[in-house]
Symmetry: C2
Subunit: 429 residues, 2 copies
């Protein structure tokens, strides 16, 4: 009698899903990774693609490529639309199903507009490569439009850039936009000047980097000010349209708004037929299982759990640790060990860059600010990239930008749909 | 009395336009470069972006960046819709006008479907970065769709790739597609195998690389066959749809067709109110002026001229020589020298790669084939790239692909319009 192999289905090839897949490398199981994208994305550097310092291929790798030498892993590029927990099957968009013995949902989060979805078209968020190249295009087209604009008020609005939300992404974006703008405007345009550029970082709370220790928030605020970023604290956004942003009584005319204020979880809770928390996340037990479901795990940004009484944050190291932990649970189960070993979160630290020469890094016992933190940040990020070639490229790109000031990826590239060629039919066959 | 400076307007920032702008660096004139794109594109390597060997930013640079230290140059990102030769003004899409004293039209060519424009949506051509990423997406999605296809006939059609036209672009594409496919399918998919891949190069004429010397055509044909590319000579395409290609009595079921068969000139002739030749090009005199117009020059792919009784080919070196020549004419005119010095074309040679280890290069007196030609081709192309950083990146990318076989830019990226965010409004303000 030949028995079918245990089948682990992982939905989502972000940090959590990939960590789980890799940690199952030696498992006597079939591992199926399903993602609607063909690539794994190094999201922490996405803002650098949006601001023309890096190119998309420097921070993304085909999932198949990453898993090419893992014999028990299979990759399926497909969109999941539901989970049939009764039949233990994942339902795909085309109606086909993938059976699982163990299921790991690692589907991440997306932008949330706090009930104002109409803001999305004016204030795009930054979650995918398409988002990044679209924001890059929007930023660069604003300079081009300003160059040709004769009305001083309109030109001012075109040269004003608003970033909403002063978490790490918002802080990093604001710093990078002001540097992109200054280098782009220096000597390269005839009618607009670097000093006309305004970058405004809008935050509803009373401080930037609210989750960091207070000393680092204060340092970051003063570093942003020194860089020339205007920071509006305690300013909740109440309205956005194509002319500007209103926060409280203030109105900021701007043609370019970027949303870095909030995320909500992907619909994993809905797929499982359970209630998500306020951010749509699935409340999991201390072994990251969904209560009442023995073989369904939820990890990463879509999971809500606490460790030592504190919520586990939605950051890449947490997702990776969760993925490796769940793989460990499954590995042990495969050899008959079902002991309860709870998830043990180790906070790796808090990091954020402020422009290209400063950063804050908090490793718990040691805290760095300024250029030392910036170099640590760079080294940490290059270290975590997927491939030697990408590490070389990102290192050269950063050194190049650092010493020449040039951001060479300033390409305005339009979407395929605008080039009159609908090329997606092939997927529908 | 202050006299206004002589104003040279250059439309198009391809090889011809950029060569003209740079050669006017020391001219006592204002040089205005108008392009609807913000970047100059190194078109000869576009097929490598389409086949995931290079990333878009490795072959494109912002025009403003290239001209940043040329004080007399201004860049305008705008779409030209006409020329008012009476008023000596270029008309832009938004109705504004740019006055010129000398005009250089260098607007290049686009795909031509010989009266079958309905083929375009099934058989995209390769002229822009968007074309390249769209073709890359189409190729990679075909593999993904084949992986999930159970019907053997449909799977066969998904794994068949047709390239129409066996000029240098078609030959290079066909060779690159078969290598992309082989490395992609090797170990990275579960249900499809490298040996299922078919690449068919379809050519209406009786030989490949029709403009090269016969010995090189023959060599290329046998090198393509050795590589596994099926070459259909003497096969004029009569029909293309989303199921396949018909050429003569043969029908090839395929879901991926790429057009490399023909180009027609951009509408410069129409702008000037004159009749273009069969390919839409402007017939110019031996000084590249438009007959009857003293101050209008047409160069590059949009110009039709002969040298020593033979037509000047539509290749990058010809466009660059034309650009430099016209700048020379204007430079001399600015100092009062209006002697007639005809354009003198020097044919630099013919080059084409066949896959990643073979090529043919013809420098007139010396001819190379095989790996020597391939290395010469690589060195020649890296040499002509714009920036040190890009030269480093392309060199590393090629060596990486050469020695590891990996094509790391296999990213399926969708257009912005598909991500629900219309981001182009800013240009319309």
């Amino acid at each position: 009698m030949t028995s079918r192999k245990h089948r682990v289905v992982i939905v989502g090839a972000g940090f959590g899903g990939m960590a789980a897949a890799k940690a199952l490398k030696s498992a006597d199981a079939e591992v199926v990774v399903i993602d609607r994208r063909n690539h794994h994305l190094f999201q922490p550097l996405l803002y650098q693609v949006a601001t023309a310092a890096l190119s998309p291929s420097e921070i993304a790798w085909p999932i198949r490529h990453i898993l090419r030498s893992q014999e028990n892993a299979h990759v399926l590029m497909a969109t999941v639309t539901g989970v049939d927990t009764g039949a233990s099957e994942v339902v795909l968009e085309d109606g086909t199903r993938e059976a699982y013995d163990s299921l790991i949902l690692a589907t991440g989060a997306q932008h949330a507009y706090f009930g104002h979805d109409e803001w999305e078209k004016y204030a795009p968020g930054l979650k995918t490569l398409e988002d990044a190249t679209a924001i890059r295009r929007k930023l660069l087209l604003a300079f081009e439009a300003a160059e040709r604009e004769n009305d001083p008020e309109k030109r001012k609005a075109l040269l004003t850039f608003a970033v909403i939300g002063a978490g790490p992404t918002g802080v990093e974006l604001a710093g990078a936009i002001i540097e992109l703008g200054r280098i782009s405007l220096k000597n390269q345009f005839t009618h607009i000047k670097p000093e006309e550029l305004r970058v405004v970082l809008i935050e509803a709370a009373g401080k930037v980097l609210g989750n960091f220790r207070p000393a680092l928030s204060d340092y970051t605020l003063s570093a942003l000010n020194k860089l020339g970023v205007e920071v509006e604290l305690g300013s909740a956004v109440v309205h956005i349209d194509d002319e500007g942003v209103r926060c409280g009584v203030k109105y900021l005319p701007t043609r370019t708004v970027i949303w870095a204020a909030g995320v909500s979880a992907s619909p994993a809770a809905k797929w499982l037929g359970i209630e998500g928390d306020r951010a749509g996340r699935v409340q999991v037990g201390d072994d990251l299982r969904v209560p009442g479901m023995d073989n369904v795990f939820v990890i990463g940004d879509v999971a809500s759990t606490t460790f030592n009484g504190k919520p586990v944050p939605g950051v890449a190291p947490a997702a990776k640790q969760m993925g490796a932990y769940v793989a460990g649970v499954i590995n042990r189960r495969l050899v008959g060990d079902r002991r309860h070993v709870p998830f043990n979160y180790k906070h790796a630290g808090d990091l954020a860059t402020i422009g290209k020469r400063s950063a804050v890094t908090d490793f718990g016992k040691v805290v760095f600010t300024g250029w030392v933190a910036w170099w640590l940040w760079c080294i940490a990020h290059v270290y975590f990239l997927v491939e030697i070639k990408t590490r070389i490229f990102v290192t050269i790109s950063w050194l190049w930008t650092h010493f020449t000031g040039q951001r060479s990826n300033r390409l305005i590239v339009h979407g395929a749909a605008e080039t009159k060629k609908p090329l997606e039919e092939v997927t529908e066959k």
